[in-house]
Subunit: 416 residues, 2 copies
Amino acid sequence: MDVEIITIGDELLIGQVVDTNSVWMAKELEKEGFRVTWKTAVGDVDTHISEAIDAAMKRAKVVLLTGGIGPTKDDITRNTLCRYFDSGLHFSEEVYQNILQMFHCSGREMNALTRLQAMVPDKCTVVRNRAGTAPCMWFDRDGRVLVSMPGVPHEMQWLMTNEIIPRLTQVFGRDAYIRHHTVWVTGYSESALALTLESFEAELPPFVKLAYLPQAGLIRLRLSACTGSDEKALQAIAGEKEKLHTLLGCHILSEEDKAPEALIGEALLAKGLRMGTAESCTGGTIASKITSVAGSSRYFAGSVVSYSNHVKRGLLGVSERDLQEHGAVSREVVEQMARGALQALDCDCVVATSGIAGPEGGTADKPVGMVWIAVGRKGEVISRCFRFGSTLREVNIARASNTALLMLLELLNKAV
Amino acid sequence: MDVEIITIGDELLIGQVVDTNSVWMAKELEKEGFRVTWKTAVGDVDTHISEAIDAAMKRAKVVLLTGGIGPTKDDITRNTLCRYFDSGLHFSEEVYQNILQMFHCSGREMNALTRLQAMVPDKCTVVRNRAGTAPCMWFDRDGRVLVSMPGVPHEMQWLMTNEIIPRLTQVFGRDAYIRHHTVWVTGYSESALALTLESFEAELPPFVKLAYLPQAGLIRLRLSACTGSDEKALQAIAGEKEKLHTLLGCHILSEEDKAPEALIGEALLAKGLRMGTAESCTGGTIASKITSVAGSSRYFAGSVVSYSNHVKRGLLGVSERDLQEHGAVSREVVEQMARGALQALDCDCVVATSGIAGPEGGTADKPVGMVWIAVGRKGEVISRCFRFGSTLREVNIARASNTALLMLLELLNKAV
């Protein structure tokens, strides 16, 4: 069943607010087989709201609105809905009691504006909003449904979970099952991967889609099956997943939709190892990724962010001579950083980075985007030089960090 | 001038990706007087893309597309555009040379698919994309403009800033002037700030808007004036800015729309000081924020991320006794971390953090979200305990990092 979402509010258009509501809604709807096929964001403008509603109601059986139904002047959606459905307004004692209760719970004072929220369209079914004061309005027309919800995330989420999705499932039953499988692929550019998978893609059944979601140095590859039977969807995904494996083999970093830092954590826990980082150009980004994972204190010892040569020498024992001879961005220095970190942080494996993030500081032989990365454990240090080739500082830092995590993951996967 | 944005890609509909592109675009467009009035998100479906384009071209003079023009099969926008504008495709040597150069810079190999990206519609003006391989396509029709850009954020951003916005301004001139003034406010909750500014907001002229953009521990407060005369807009902003100052005084952290890490960099350069960080619960996030600023190597010495007590003792000289007696999350330890970092990193000022990011590891007297933060310079260390009170790890880390940066900024502002 196709669903459209319309988000209402100037703040969504002028760049004040990032729309995470529709993202949350899409995920929850999908679990019950409802697929979001179209999203529209309009401001608090009567003509725009009604045009968006009209177009959506022509395309989809289910149209979900969020926002624009607060107590303040700029929220006009309720009146627009009355016009669109040719409906009057009436005072709902039931809604009013709910509002009173809400205010009582939060210890706030009622005011005239809030009382107005108890005015609801005659032609809608009011769905009680136990998470807030703005009533949720459910309209039926010619076998199509339009639901208007508040834009406040926790109110919308409470309504979707407890009222709207259950009712939609009841009304429309379930005509589709959607299953995904996402793998992380490394060692390919997006186009190189597409070439490798050309015939695989061509042979996919029509109800299975393949999507490429490239990230700095990595590609998330998503298989989606959408069909009338859950079993069929699961079988298709399982089958195609097998083929992907045969085609990509060791390039598949993970069978799960997990970030490298999470996979590293699992590998370290499984092997009972502890890690650390020695970072120059990545400036702590690798450490912050590793420690973004809950429980990372069980395997993350720490990090030395050695921006200055003084710190490279003092805390990591990099030799002054090599810094002079080869420069900070060199195999010699990055490998000494790795060895120094193994010792200073007293851990089993480390990753070290030294490069030129840019935009300044590049030279002919050491251009912006050139980064040396070393991974090591006691008795073994491997280093490689990369040219991430962007003039954008954040891009080079992101690529260097992801690549460093991948090199560490490889080391862990082969380590006994 | 009204602008519509159409974002293309299944990932935007199924909840896999949060759309931050259109948010960035809206902000940048507004600076030149272009206002986003409508946003549409559709999947990689030919009929949906063309319907969205058709509707948008009827409403707005400027329609901006992002996404769906990569080299892979799931990206079909280019062909849809050809059909919509009734245009053929031809091979562009110029685009091909750009692609070659891109691949050369990043040291990757060309392949057939990437070569295909040099196929461009006859009826469009190709805008060179110096940030990536996908060409940007500019279509003119009946005084209206449609521009198709890649969805990769840094490519889209490069194109918007360097090519698209300047060209749009050239073509359409400007019918509105939008002026903003943003201040960073600290020490208020959003609602407390709203109460303080209640009458100020009520008295704002109709063409001036106030926006609250709360961030972890901080609130960006934005005044926007949109009117036909730039002088009028500037005057209004200047006046309201004055009033804000009188109302908020020392709670205004900065008069500029700059992140704390940028302000810290400027303060350090002005005073000729170098800084470092000693991070436990923030795990390198503060260091990565500081080093995200170009040129930070001039004032950032480095960081010790001391997750393990071994590192706290070994590299920062924290006393074993205090770790035992008071625990790692304590005034004693965080202050010793600060002093140790001043010495180990040989810098003039430091910030240190030790806390419980969660979701695990909290106790009755040291709950999840409790963080000790110390800032110091030679001879002076100040520490405070915060309870950020979220059960979400990322929220506590973000709040602790921002708060630490603010404490350092305060120290620098008062330092002689």
